[in-house]
């Protein structure tokens, strides 16, 4: 299989029919991320972007691509890592983040659950609890990312959500009937407030597989290990279903994203809830008390 330039292809995009060699693939990845940023005005002049970097492939590919773009366009980057306190997993990926940031010349900040909230995930996981470890982890991670990037003077948080993450989330929320969440998976925010740092997803149109190819092809050191507590069965079922559908009909994931993006402006205002301030900690929330305060009380 050969690229249109004549070189041997390393990627075949079944959804578009493109066959790309290493050079054309890398160029195409940068162009596609630029296109998404432009399309939704995700990054503007003089923005200070906090990149949420876990050490996995998606966040490190995002960091590398944004670094390339920041050399041409006027915006600042800082890497922000949340250390959930998962021994044997997060400690390893934090080292990978630090190595990448050093190579790229990007400032890196690490904030831990233990220091900031008083509990590590290893401690939470050992407790008798009604919710899954992932529920606590997701809430605490989003809370700290928002708070810390704001304190660092960032006006955007870039997260490495890829096409697969997006379509899985859209379908999951729809099937669960969680219309509030369904109404806030778009590429921009309807409601915001001054303590809420908008999250941007520049990789939302890049299939997960292509992030792996980009990392391998650019020799980006990424962590491939899985979280010890990972096991969101429902998401795994949705992932399997979408991958199966994509094999049978190679535009399934893009069609789902495009359909969602078309209806998003129509549903977002009705379904998304207004952002208020938590009565306890003052952080942004859609309820009276934020989930972090609610969960911390139960621990």
């Amino acid at each position: 299989m050969y690229c249109k330039c004549g070189k041997k292809a390393i990627v075949f995009r079944r959804y578009s029919g493109e066959k790309l060699c290493e050079r054309c693939f890398n160029k195409s990845m940068i162009e596609r991320v630029k296109k998404v940023i432009r399309k939704y005005s995700l990054i503007e002049k003089n923005d200070r972007v906090g990149v949420a970097v876990s050490g996995g492939k998606d966040s490190l590919v995002l960091l590398n691509i944004l670094k390339k773009l920041s050399e041409k366009y006027p915006f600042d980057l800082i890497a922000v890592t949340i250390d959930e306190g998962i021994k044997g997993y997060r400690d390893k990926t934090i080292e990978i983040v630090k190595k990448n940031c050093k190579l790229l010349g990007i400032e890196s900040k690490v904030y831990s659950f233990k220091k900031e909230l008083g509990h590590s995930m290893d401690e939470i996981a050992k407790r008798d609890r009604k919710l899954s470890a992932c529920s606590y982890c997701g809430v605490f991670r989003r809370y700290l990312l928002n708070k810390k990037t704001r304190e660092l003077g960032c006006n955007k948080i870039a997260i490495g959500h890829n096409l697969d993450d997006e379509v899985q989330t859209i379908l999951m929320n729809f099937l669960r009937g969680d219309l509030s969440r369904f109404g806030r998976t778009g590429s921009y925010y309807i409601y915001s407030n001054e303590r809420f740092v908008p999250r941007i997803k520049p990789l939302r149109e890049i299939p997960e597989k292509e992030n792996v190819v980009y990392a391998l092809s650019n020799n980006i050191e990424v962590g491939f290990s899985r979280c010890l507590y990972a096991g969101e069965a429902y998401r795994n079922n949705i992932r399997e279903f979408l991958n199966k559908m994509e094999l049978e009909q190679p535009t399934t994931k893009y069609s789902l994203l495009r359909s969602y993006d078309k209806i998003y402006p129509l549903i977002a205002k009705n379904l998304a809830k207004k952002v208020k301030y938590c009565e306890k900690c003052g952080e942004p929330t859609i309820g009276d008390i934020c989930k972090t305060c609610e969960f911390l009380e139960k621990l």
């Binding site: 390393i10 066959k19 996995g56 997960e208 597989k209 491939f224 899985r226 979280c227 994509e246 094999l247």
Partner: protein, 66 residues
């Protein structure tokens, strides 16, 4: 024989070489597809339609999450 390694699972297997064996056949054999894995053949990223040769070293990188 063809050596098949799995990056995320830290294991390797040997499979018998057959004429016209493609990377996608190997992926299918181990429960993967072009959607769920990237393959390096002898250290280079390959598309799934490529034929493999005897004594090839195949590395399967599960796309997974993270």
């Amino acid at each position: 024989m063809i050596k098949v390694r799995f990056l995320r699972e830290d294991k390797e297997e040997l499979i018998e070489y057959k004429e016209d064996l493609k990377i996608e056949d190997i992926l299918r054999k181990f429960g993967y597809s072009s959607e769920t894995a990237v393959v390096k053949r002898n250290g280079k990223i390959n598309t799934e339609d490529e034929n493999v040769e005897d004594n090839d070293d195949i590395l399967i990188i599960s796309v997974g999450s993270g």
